[in-house]
Each structure stands twice: as structure tokens, then as C-alpha cells.
Symmetry: D2
Subunit: 417 residues, 4 copies
Amino acid sequence: MARSTVEISGHIIDSLILPKVLDIIINLGAEFEILDIKVGHRRADRSYALVQIDAPTPMLLDRVLARLKEHGALPANEELESALLEPSPADGIFPDHFYSTTNLLTWVRIDGRWIEVELSEMDCGIRVNLETLRAQCVPIHRVKKGDLVVTGHHGIRIQPVERQIPRAGFEFMSSAVSTEQPKGLLIEEIAEAMKQIRRAHGRILVVAGPGLVHTGAARYLVRLIEADYVQVIFAGNGLAVHDIESALYGTSLGVHLDKKIRASEGHEHHLWAINAVRRAGSIKRAVESGLIQSGIFYSCVKKGVDFVLAGSIRDDGPLPDVITDTLHAQEAMREKVRGVSLALMMATTLHAIATGNLLPATVKTVCVDINPAVVTKLTDRGTFQAMGLVTDVEPFLRELCQRLELDLASVESRAAH
Amino acid sequence: MARSTVEISGHIIDSLILPKVLDIIINLGAEFEILDIKVGHRRADRSYALVQIDAPTPMLLDRVLARLKEHGALPANEELESALLEPSPADGIFPDHFYSTTNLLTWVRIDGRWIEVELSEMDCGIRVNLETLRAQCVPIHRVKKGDLVVTGHHGIRIQPVERQIPRAGFEFMSSAVSTEQPKGLLIEEIAEAMKQIRRAHGRILVVAGPGLVHTGAARYLVRLIEADYVQVIFAGNGLAVHDIESALYGTSLGVHLDKKIRASEGHEHHLWAINAVRRAGSIKRAVESGLIQSGIFYSCVKKGVDFVLAGSIRDDGPLPDVITDTLHAQEAMREKVRGVSLALMMATTLHAIATGNLLPATVKTVCVDINPAVVTKLTDRGTFQAMGLVTDVEPFLRELCQRLELDLASVESRAAH
Amino acid sequence: MARSTVEISGHIIDSLILPKVLDIIINLGAEFEILDIKVGHRRADRSYALVQIDAPTPMLLDRVLARLKEHGALPANEELESALLEPSPADGIFPDHFYSTTNLLTWVRIDGRWIEVELSEMDCGIRVNLETLRAQCVPIHRVKKGDLVVTGHHGIRIQPVERQIPRAGFEFMSSAVSTEQPKGLLIEEIAEAMKQIRRAHGRILVVAGPGLVHTGAARYLVRLIEADYVQVIFAGNGLAVHDIESALYGTSLGVHLDKKIRASEGHEHHLWAINAVRRAGSIKRAVESGLIQSGIFYSCVKKGVDFVLAGSIRDDGPLPDVITDTLHAQEAMREKVRGVSLALMMATTLHAIATGNLLPATVKTVCVDINPAVVTKLTDRGTFQAMGLVTDVEPFLRELCQRLELDLASVESRAAH
Amino acid sequence: MARSTVEISGHIIDSLILPKVLDIIINLGAEFEILDIKVGHRRADRSYALVQIDAPTPMLLDRVLARLKEHGALPANEELESALLEPSPADGIFPDHFYSTTNLLTWVRIDGRWIEVELSEMDCGIRVNLETLRAQCVPIHRVKKGDLVVTGHHGIRIQPVERQIPRAGFEFMSSAVSTEQPKGLLIEEIAEAMKQIRRAHGRILVVAGPGLVHTGAARYLVRLIEADYVQVIFAGNGLAVHDIESALYGTSLGVHLDKKIRASEGHEHHLWAINAVRRAGSIKRAVESGLIQSGIFYSCVKKGVDFVLAGSIRDDGPLPDVITDTLHAQEAMREKVRGVSLALMMATTLHAIATGNLLPATVKTVCVDINPAVVTKLTDRGTFQAMGLVTDVEPFLRELCQRLELDLASVESRAAH
């Protein structure tokens, strides 16, 4: 029999943290006794609970404590403990039993001080520099031999996501996936958030799949770019090729976007577009040389919007801008998500999940897809802050532009040609 | 006004080729006149038709002819034409208007002779060696400066997929996606095909996603490997890590597969499994050192089954065996699909489509997924030969093992522990 | 061995009829020989084929002939045969082996004359009146003892659906289900068809499910009704209650449609709305008394639009207007589909299929749902003419209103309150 | 400003009731203060909280109190209040503001005593007989003029569903919808529950859709019936006709279930099967006369299993056993759900939701469908106790039979013919 005591404080009842903690203890096979509890009488007040845990084995007790830590429940004697540090045995290899991070705000206790972990990202290790007394998340492939990495669960504190007071629509709608809901209000909220972010010079990230071009929605994304509502784009070879095929030939996968002709089978335009950009050397050069004169990537180049095109094994070509090494692509994405306040993911599973893995939980995340499974997958993987909108991307973007009061006359007349 | 005449022969009525040809002509905006038709009186007889096409512009006529070629309709004066060859302007770049391949058997006419194009693969160029008089499909990134590549649609002949006589179940069921059908018969057919292929020492490829481990189906794939029904496996980091996590800790994403405990959130086992294999150096060494003692990849190493693990931007880690560069991964897959007679794709979209892109249309392809959209996507991308089975992968594999008369007592008792 | 000869004429190659006929013969286990074929040289020309069939047994030959008849292939000696008639043995019971109808135009041969079958509907029997020499489809429950009903497949001729020349968009897009397509063009076509139909004083039927109200789309349907684009509505209790709850309380299933409050669980408003209308006696009286002052059914009453509310076992209440007996509801729907030129089905599976069962194949049918399976089910059940649009119903209806140039300012400001 | 005080007791923290209560207060726009709280120190202990609510208007306070009551939070002065009763103004009409029921155990306070409400069912009114001092749920169409019905929310107490201690798998898995999970354990739990129920002579209800026959799963349901694991079946015309068509002709919708022939289009067998049973007078007579000699309904008749076939507007025929009036069908179902301990719903949306509406929350409910949306819909409608299993019904039933140790040799050989 092993026993320990944990403390929890904050909005622990209102925010469901206490029930979750008790739930975890029971589920893992341990027992609890609440030694002390002080409940805040009003919403703004904080509560406090002292919970004793009895587990059949010390190993199980450890597992329980580790899980509780994710919810902000710290061993009552935690103040005395420091994080354990071990050197990495080789480049790209963590020490055994390294602590794997969440996407929440985290501190480690070193030399009697709580240090905030920088570069918050899930599924990483925590590398500590004892000289500078700084700690940061590091992905496994970037750790170097001898780097000190946190192991076990001692001396670690996490700030669970508490619900906000007053709760904004965003928090409220979290993870809603239903197809049967009035979407206008949600889109209005997204538009409001975008306006606020841009007023504060914040950055907005768009993550998009190729369906965005097929469904005729590219024109609205172009409008957002022109109006400074997009600071960075993550996509794959597919989206870029469809967009450029459309600029060069007016088709997407051989289908004319604005006419009734659906000359399907041939992939020629698709492949020729790739070849043309390879010849130009890059998308930027293809725009500058006048080869590409419209579309999403044309606007990105003209407005100086950053983009990362990440490779996948189903790519044709690919375009010269595509980063074919997936680790390098992750690095490029990791670089560009710093400072992003809102991520708008549309019509893509692979890129949405890959981006979700890199985002701190504090980044507002909106996932729009006609398939409810995409949103579910995203939140299952740990991107709890994602708000899901099950709808068609084309009408979604059109309405978003309208709510942002963008003039669509120009794009819609362009489309008519 | 431009006019041309094409000939079609074979089972052109029975196999729907003639109606398709007429359809294409009209859809693209041209007109036809059937100058001559001889219809085979019996099933085994071949038919012949001579069709004159009138198009408003020579450019449109060219487009019509290009599309008709995909269905085996050749210009009546084709015999006289040779394929046009142009040198590639630089490494990794085709000449303009290069001919992009289908996954069908193709010939090019060079020096008055029809030459079969080797290494059949869709969305490639055709590289011709005038000295050896050989032609082969080449992906864009592998073409070298000066390589002669076919441009335009002259001097090219394609063998459309005719339905077989007598038609086996496989052909008959092609592209069936319905969830409401008795699946036992289809699984019986797949088992029969697998037995035949192995009797003839043919190769079977398994392409699998991580859901295969989550749903408890890994044990059946292990059984297929042990019984020599799998010669090569394509997968991603996810499947391998889940499988190895299960071998090391008995969990998959932290969930115990054989007990009722669902200790979900923590990804520790997942990441520790990655770290352990990185430390061992490779999956093979981790098996040889005794670290990994069961599972899909344990069996692969023990039986000498080839596997290709292709990287993706959503990977954790990854394992040292993962090919992180997507072009290198495609090359490795391209290498291993040669000689495959049957591809069995289960619970994966990304790898199924990537593999489908590489397969000649003659490879029997079975795609099993609980989501009908995966099968639809696969055939939309040109893998017409894919037979879809909308069902759960765990019962599918169990029944497949039973139809192959594999003893499951051992695996199922193993699972009980 | 049994042998027979059938004739086919019309656009038999272009329209895929000949290949289908040959396909059926082989699939059922018989053999064919094409005795004669004359192929039209131009699109407008008709073709002719004489096909001899050899089947192993007379029973199988009969089955083949029955199936071929559905595609317009008639026994070459058909002219001599008359339809067999047998009296129904009792009310609501057909004679054995009665001929079951398709939704295609059909003739029966009686007394040496071809008589067109009236009230075209699938899955019925054909009742013949020898005195008036009229024939009509009759559903099984309406046949009376002694009524003469056609049995077997002799003396029956069906007009298969040929593709139109020139083919309008509607025919071309038939059965398209893809989620990845530009929808603007399709909606434009639907709008055009609606305008044409109304110019010719034709009738438009709307079949709608309750999701239409949840998603905030009701206001657009109201606009269509006000603008005379809807002549009849089929729905269930659910749609009507949601609409009336919204009119009385501003909520739908307890959720405020135009505010951020989502006070979900309580069904009180839903049930109180039902009770209030029951008290008023009917929807019409509830409108006339001033109880209901807005919404879909308010507009229906004001504009004199017919509606049929059909009961289902999952209904709460129901409203007094709901026809709880499903046979009576079918009869009411059967009555109202006469004369309809376009059926627009939105966000409903049950009512879409039930309506599809009643519609002749000549009625243009559009099925809009966010779930691709609904469209597939509809066409699987025999409603081949259905064009599917996989999208969200709210943006669909908004765009449809825009393409019909309806002023939306009023409805959208109304919604804002 | 209006103020009230509510008491909550039980496992209010562990079972999430207290946080939910606080949540509702805030969401509806009121404020709370926790006046007193006593938290049980151990799992088995009960807790108690006294919460004061301040709302801007008395109307809002009432709404808050009504919602809290659903979670067992009673006004602290509740003991003093009696339920308000009003007479129904007419047959089939409740008084205004009637209290609409949940599917939870409910008491009403009459004459200073708490009376348990009988016939627990959601969305009904509560009818009170002052002479017998009994109360029962009554659907709206069955209330009679003058019946006393509870209005408002005074004098009502509900027992919220607390999680069980020790929690059995059933509770734990509640509402799991994921497609990626090992299903064997869940099926094992269902089998265990079925064995226990039958040992205690409890009743098991099967609710099934027509897909059960198409997918070849009927043989397993037959086996369950033969082994006394099914006491009552709810279905529609479709399931019964498919089953009987299969018994008479070996086909389902014209498709041979056990052979490779898929002679689709013709619905003749389907309609002839309907006609044959209509002629026999009922399914029971058709079995007794020897017309039907196998299948689900054959076994039902032989084993004396009750069945209710409820009509729908998409029915062909229907069979004489089908209750075409949906209110009568609901009544028949309502009658038969009394005493049921487990409801097993498979491959049906309409019947699953209709049955869910009638079931008290204490009935274990399992919903099996390949489409995740069905399970979501069921729980959205208030059937919170439903456990979802997203899988194919055929392998599900096969494995269920195996886990129940039923001999399948006979059925599987029967199927082979």
C-alpha cells in the first residue's frame, strides 16, 4: 500500500477539475479521501482541496500522480521536490522515462525555483539549461547527446485550461461538432476574433486542403489574403498545384471551375502546372516572371504572406517549394506557428492534425470540414481547444468574408469569366 | 472546322467502350459520324467501328483525340504516326506538353515500331532510349537533362481495361462501395485469390493504417504474416509505433488492448516506445536484441517480410526506420510494388492513395475501410481496379484468416493474457 | 435450351442501352447472338438491333425477357402477344406473379392495342379496365377483389430513360454525389429550372426535414414560398413543430436560433408548441387566430401552399395536421405529386425516399443533404433521376434565393432580432 | 432581482452533478453563492451542498429552478410545496405550461407526500389521480378532458442518473462512439449482461433495421431467438419483407444472399413476398400454413417471441402485420417495452430513436451501427444511457453468438446452401 497527498486549487469545482481528479484516482484502481475542502462561495472565488490517495503499489501511485499532474493536482509536499534531470544518451534519443509534454503551460522546479517551460508543444521532452536556468520543449530528433532532460513526474506543474470568466463564445462552443446548428453565429464569432487579432497586429494562420480549390472557395481565401487577414499558410503540394493549375488553365484536376464542362480523367493540366513551376524554379519566381497571374499563391507572393508547403507520399511532382522531408517540414511549421493567435483549418485532415500537434493550447483553433470525423480526430489527438464547424468550406468562406465586410463584387465577377 | 477519323476494335459494345467514346466526343463539343461498324455476333467475337469526328477548332480536335486514346480509340492513320520526342530541359523537368501516363498498358510508336512502355505507373512521363529502343515511365523528379520524353498524343496506344470473359467475381464487384451487402462472399473471393497467388509464388502487399492496432486486429495480421500470406508491408510511423508500444507495454496510445482499463490521455508509452527503438538503432535490431518480442513488426523481421515505413508531417519521433523524405519513401515503395499481384489496403487513406498512384491497373486491389469515402477517393484518383469493402477491419481480418483456414487458437489465447 | 429474339431501337448505343442489354443476358446466365444491327451514323439518327437469346431453361429465358423489358428490349414477336390479366383474389391482394411497375412510362397490350398506363408509380400493379380500355398503376392496398391485374411480362412495353439531346445540365449531372465540386453552377441550374417551371405555371414540391429549421435555413424557405416558388410541401411532424416552436418562442428544441444562448436539454417549448396547436385545432386555425405569426407554415397558410405532414413512430404529439396512418399519408402525398415538375428534397432521408417512391421518372429531382449516404440510398431505391448535392442546407437555400434574385434584406433583418 | 435556495445531496462531486448545477445557473444568466457544503471524504460517503441563486427576474429564476430540478437540485423549501395540478381542457390536450417528463425516475408531491410517477417515459405529461394518490406518465394523445395534469415545476423531484459504484463496464463505456477501439471487450460485456438478464428471467428487446438481412446477419439473430435470448422484436415492414423474401426465394431485394449473382434492379420477389403474406392473412398464418419455413419471423412464431412491426411512409405493401397508424404502433411498442432490461438496437435510425423515446433511463441500451451519426442522434434525443458500437452488424452478431457460446455450425451450413 502506498499513500500520497495532493493539493488542488483554483476554480476546481466549477471547472470540473476536482471531479476529474477523483475520477482518475478511481479509474486507475486507487482510492481517495478528501482531507480538507474549501469551496469558493462565488464564481470569482477560488477553491482548495486536499486529497489523500491510497494505491495498492508504489508504481501505481506514481502513475496516478503523473496523471493528476496533468490536471494541476500537485503532491502536497511538491514544494520540496525538484525535477529529475538526466543527460540524453545520444543525439536524437531521450533518457528513459523522459517526461512527455502536453500543449499546456508548464513549469519545472529546478534549484528550488519554478521555471516556465518555453516553446510549449505536445509530445516533446523538456530540456533544461542549468546555467541560464531556462527550460524548453524539444522534439526528440533535435535533442543532443548530454542535453539535460526531465524524467519522471517530480517537480512539474501544469496549468490546466480553466474555463474563462466571463466565458466568450469561443470557449463555450469548444469541440461542438454537430451538423445541426445555426452556423451564422459561430461565423460571426470567428469574424470578430479575426478583427480583434488584426487590430492588435496578431497573426492568423490558415491551414487548407485541396478541396478548397475544387469547391470554388479559393476566391474567398484570396480576398482574405488581400485584406490582411492571413499572415501564414500551411498546405501541401495538392492545394498549391490546384491553385496554380487554375491560374494557368482555368481548371482544377482538369475540371473547369466556372463552366459546365467537366472533362475529368485527364491529369495533364495538373502535371503541366507542376512542370511549369519546376521550370521557373519556385512559385515566387513564377509569379515574378508573370507566369502565375492570379490565385491564392499569387496573392501570397504579392502580399508577402509566408507559406509552408509540406510534402506527403501521395504528391505528384512535387512543386519546387514543397519541403519533401517531413522533419524539415515540421521544423518550418514549428517556426511559423510562433506568435500565431488563431489557426483556421479548412478541408484537410493531415495538415490539421500536424499543425494541431505543434500549437500551444492557448491558440484559438477553428476546424472547418464537411466530414465530422476530422474534427473528432483533431480533438482526440489532444488539440482540445479546437472548435469544430461541420459545413461546406465554400459557403463558410463566403459568409466569413461577408461578416468581415469584405467587398466580394470583384472576386465574384472575376469568377464569372 | 477540323476533322479526323478513329478506329476502335475489341469488345467495344459489350465493354461500354463505344458509348464512352461517343459520349466524350459530344461532351467536349465535337460531333461524330459512324462511318462503319461491324458488331461481333457472339461474346467471344470482336467488333470494329470507324468513327469520324468534326470539331470546331484543331485545338479541340486534339483534345478529343487525346481523351479517346485513353479508351483505345486510335486515329485511323495512326500507323503512320510516330511519337514526338523532346529532350528534357533540365534535371527534374519535363519538356512542355509532355504526355502524362495512365496506369494502363501503353505502347509508343518509335521508328515504325510499337514499343511497350515499362514500369507502368500513372502521372509519369515516358522516357525513350533510341539506342536500346526501350521506353519506360519516369516520375518527374528522376528525369535527367537531355532525356528524350514523349510529348503530345501522337504515336501512343493504350489498352483499355476490358471486362474479362468469363468474368471472375473480382471484376464483377469492382468499385462496389455499399455498406449493405453480404460480405462473406467477397472475403471468400479475396481468400481464394490469395491462395492462388501464393500457390504461384506471387507477392501480396499489405498497406495498413494505425487503426489496425487500436481495433485489436494486429493479431490477425501477425497470423497472415506467419502463414506466408504477406510479402511486403507499407505503413507509416503510426502503425509501427502502436504495434511496438503494444509489444513493450501491452497498450496502444496508452489504452490497454485486452483489459477494460482505458487510461487514455497519456502518450507516454507511445513516446517511450519510439525512444526505445531509436536507442536500439532500428526495428530489426530491437527485435534481435530481444527488446521487441511480439507483434506485426516482430513477425516481419522473423519471417523476412519487407516493409517500407513512409514519413508524414503528423509523425511523432519518428522511428529510425521511417523514411522521412517523401520522395525517397515513394522510391522505396515504387521498388517494392514491382511483382506484386494483390494489394490489400486497410484502414488508411494516405498510404492507400499513395500506393494506388504507383500500382499498374493489373494489380488486384482491395480497399477495406469503415468509411465509404476512402474507397471513393481511391477510385476517384484513378485506381479504377480497386474493390471496396466498407466494414470494420478487425472482423474482416478475422474472417479472412478463417477463410484461409489459419489456426487462430494460438493468437486468440495470446490475446486473452 | 430455350431461345427467343428481342428487338431494340432508339439511341441504343449512345444511351448505353445495348451494352446493358447484353450485360443482363450474360449476367443471368444466358447467351446472345446479334442477328442484325443498324447503327445511326449521326447523333440524331436512331439505331436498331435484333438480338437472339439462348437460355438453359425456359424459366431463365422468361426472367431474362422480363429484365430486358425494363430497358425497352421487346420480344421480336411482341406485337402478337397480349398482356395476361388475372382477377385479384381479394381486396388488397394481387394475383400471383403480378407485374410490378417501374417509375417509367409503360404501355400494356390489350386487345391488339398498346394502352399507356396512367398514374405512373413504382412497385405497383397494373389494373386494366376492359370496358374503358384504360390501365393504371394501383398500389397493393387499393386493389379490389375481382380487379383485373397484369401478370407476367407479356404484352408490356417500357420507355427507358434515354439521355436527352441536347443534354441539359440536369441530365448530365445526374446522380453526382461528390462533396468536392463547385456547387455554384448546380445551384444556378436549379434556379434556372425553377424559373422556367414557374413561367410555365408548373408545380414545385419541397420535401424537407427538421434540420432545415435547426440550421437557421427556414427564413430562406419562407422567402421561396412568398415568391411563389413552392406549390406543395411534404414534411413530418418534426419540421412543423420546430417551425412553430420558433414562431412561438424563438427557439428550436429549446435552443435560441438567433442568440448565443444554447439552453439545450429542455423540450418544453417543443411540447408546448404541439399542445398549443392541438388546442387551436389545426395549423391553419392557429395562424388565423393570430397564435402563429411567422415561419414556414404561417407562409404556407397565407399563400395557400398545400402541405402534407406524414406521421412517423418517433413523433412527439403529434400536431393535429399530421396524418398518423402511413397509408393515408401515402395517399395524400400520391395525390399531391400529380403535376409536380420539380421535387426539391432537403435534409431528410425518410420523406425523400417515400416521395421518391411515388414520383414518375420524368420529375426532376434534387436531393440536398450534408450526408452523401442519403443521396446514394435514394438512387439505390430506384429514383434514378435524382441529382444529389452534398452540402449544408442553409447556405444552399441562401444561394438559391440569391440566384432567384429574391430580396433577402427583409428576412435577414428579421433574423437579427 | 429574485432569489432562491436549492439543496443537492448524494455523490454530487464525483458524479459531476454540482459542477453541472453551477454551470446551468451561470449559463442561464443567474449568479450563485454556495452557502454550505459538506463533501463526503470517501467514495461511499454522500455530500451535501446548499446553493443560493440570484436571478435578474422571477421568470428567469423559475427557468433556472426548472432546469436544476432535472439534476436533482431541489428548492430548499421544496418540502413545503405541492405540485400544481390543472385539468386538461379537452381530450388530447394538456393544460398550458404542463410539466414535460424526462426518462428518469420522478416523484410528485401531492398532499404533503412524495408519490413515484409510474410508466416512466420522456416527453409526456404527469396525470395524477387524487383518489388513488397515483401518478403516471401519459402521452398527449391519451389524456382525457378533465384529467388532472401537473403544470410548472413545483413539487417535482427527479433522481438524476448517478454513476454506479462499483461501476460496471456498461456505465463506463456509456456513449462511446469511436470507431477505433477494440470491440471484443464490449461485445463480451453485452454477452455477459444478456446471460445475467436471462438467468434472472429478464426480457431482452431487439430493434432491427432491414440492413440486418442484406448483410447476411439474419442467421445469427435466428440463433439468438432459438436460444431464448430475444423476448421481443421491434422492426418495420422492410426487415420483415426482406426476411420473408429470403425465406421464399433465397433473395433480398432480388439479390441472392448466398451466391455471387446480384440480379439487382427487380423488386419482384420483394413485392411477391408481400402479396403472399397478405394472401395468407398474417405472418403467423403464413408460418403455420408452411408457406414460410425459415428466417427471423419463422423463429419468432415458433418460439412465441412477440414482435411489433411499425409502419412508415416509405413502406411497400405493407405486410398485414404492420401497424400502419403510427400512434397505434407507438402504443403497441409502449406496451411491450414494459419489463425490458436490455434493448439491442441494430442498423436502424428510425426505430432506434422511436424506441429510445419510450425507454426509461434504467434500461441498458446498446446501439450498433456502421454510421456513427445514428448513435449521436440517439443520445442527442435524450437516450443518455445508450452505449454505441460503431461496427458492421454481421460480424457483431456473429461474435455475440460466439461469446454466448451458441453453436453456429447449423446456421452456417444452412447458409452455405
